[in-house]
């Protein structure tokens, strides 16, 4: 317990020392880098994953391919992929971004697909029966009903991307992982644990954002049926 308090003290000291908040090596700069990698890759992954997930879910064609891709993708060691990309393409952010996108697409794709597929056939039948066009069925019924799962997919992808962007510091990229990796190589535990704390805070913020988003965009009518997460 005492040790735990020491650790908090350590983090407190590190976070409050003014050098952490200025310059190229400071928290704001690293945080911005981290958010840029994560945000950009999540954006592209969402564009790809949502488009194909909605398409396959709505038409029902290509379901097997989507399931296989998602299954295979989960098995890819993210750390290995980032290191491989840097080894092959050198230390620049574009290849790493592509790797991050590749990692973030599958959870968005499979959850969007399953969300749309999971819409009760009777509801879909009713939607067509009252005279909705295919597009209207998709946008007015399938997407709103799939939102809990779509958000879940986006959240898992965001967590994945934030975590992998941290690891990307190891082969030499920026971002919050730098504190940890540099701390490890310099045997500076204060730096390691301080950096870890900032990463944890970022992860909690991501989690909180998605919880809030869910409250705002998911219809209360679906809440009871949507406790699964």
């Amino acid at each position: 317990m005492n040790d735990f308090l020491n650790q908090i003290q350590l983090v407190g000291d590190w976070l409050t020392s003014s050098s952490q908040w200025h310059g190229d090596e400071g928290i704001p700069r690293r945080l911005l880098e981290h958010l840029t990698y994560s945000g950009l890759s999540l954006l592209f992954a969402a564009l790809i994953g949502l488009t194909f997930g909605l398409l396959v879910g709505h038409t029902g064609r290509g379901a097997f391919a989507v399931a296989s891709v998602a299954n295979l993708a989960r098995a890819i060691p993210t750390f290995g992929l980032v290191v491989l990309v840097v080894t092959l393409a050198g230390l620049s952010s574009t290849p790493v971004l592509i790797a991050l996108v590749a990692l973030a697409v599958p959870p968005i794709l499979i959850n969007t697909f399953e969300g749309v597929r999971g819409v009760d056939p009777a509801t879909r039948d009713a939607a067509r029966g009252v005279g909705m066009t295919g597009w209207e069925v998709l946008t007015r019924v399938e997407v709103p009903m799939a939102l809990p799962l779509i958000l879940l997919g986006l959240r898992v992808a965001a967590i994945q991307v934030v975590a992998t962007a941290t690891v990307a510091a190891y082969p030499g990229l920026g971002g919050l992982g730098r504190f940890i990796v540099d701390g490890l190589s310099r045997n500076d535990y204060e730096l390691v644990i301080g950096g870890s704390t900032v990463v944890v805070v970022l992860a909690l913020v991501v989690q909180a954002v998605f919880t809030a988003l869910r409250r705002v965009v998911v219809s209360p009518g679906l809440r009871a049926a949507a406790t699964k997460s």
Partner: protein, 221 residues
């Protein structure tokens, strides 16, 4: 990297076969023990959450928050207490499995049809016997679905542990970067994926053997 360096040098793999096998065994241990520990925690916790519904949302929230913390950061937090050991890798991996396993145990128990539950009670099963002999077996398919997800992601996450010197096959990933030599990286990745997919296939098989009654349903779906 040298431009004419091939992605894979087969000779390197042949030369390191024995060493690769050793690291593979370590990797499996680091990846799968956390799933086992996760199950040992999740089954009683899930049963508890199933019986005390109010407990479930806070437990799930905590599990989700733990899951959202990047592995590298979580490893570092435990280094202070458990040093650069295998435990430091396995404890966070165990915590990660909870966000999949606990909800699947709860959903699995919820999937037990009410008439079955009532019939078991009417026949004189006590609560504990009913849960162990009737409800848990029926929950097995859903629980195993969770174990599959947990096992696959756990096996692929082990590699990050290499940053504290305990990454199983992750060793070859850092080695490859240091030597600017892709063969070990590619080899390690392929082996890790093979481990994950084989484990997944074995779990599917295990489920079929454990729940012969659900087989016809599985093929029908």
């Amino acid at each position: 990297m040298n431009d004419d360096e091939p992605l894979v040098r087969w000779q390197w793999i042949a030369d390191h076969a024995a060493e690769l096998a050793d690291y593979t065994a370590v990797h499996l241990r680091l990846g799968l023990l956390p799933v086992l520990f996760g199950l040992i925690i999740s089954v009683p916790l899930g049963i508890l959450c199933h019986r005390l519904r109010r407990l479930y949302p806070p437990v799930l929230t905590v599990a989700n928050i733990l899951y959202s913390i990047p592995s590298l950061a979580l490893f570092m937090i435990f280094v202070r207490y458990t040093g650069l050991t295998e435990q430091t890798v396995m404890i966070p991996l165990t915590l990660y499995t909870l966000s999949v396993l606990v909800p699947n145990v709860v959903d699995g128990l919820a999937s037990v049809p009410e008439p079955v539950r009532l019939a078991a009670t009417a026949m004189g099963f006590g609560t504990v016997r009913r849960v162990v002999q009737v409800e848990l077996p029926i929950a097995v398919p859903v629980v195993i679905a969770g174990v599959r997800v947990a096992a696959v992601s756990s096996i692929s996450l082990v590699a990050v542990g290499q940053l504290i010197g305990q990454g199983g096959l992750g060793y070859y990933i850092t080695r490859g970067l240091q030597l600017d030599f892709p063969t070990p990286i590619v080899t390690a990745m392929v082996l890790i994926m093979l481990l994950a997919l084989t484990t997944d296939a074995l779990l599917v098989l295990a489920q079929r053997l454990l729940t012969p009654w659900s087989r016809s349903k599985v093929t029908a779906a």
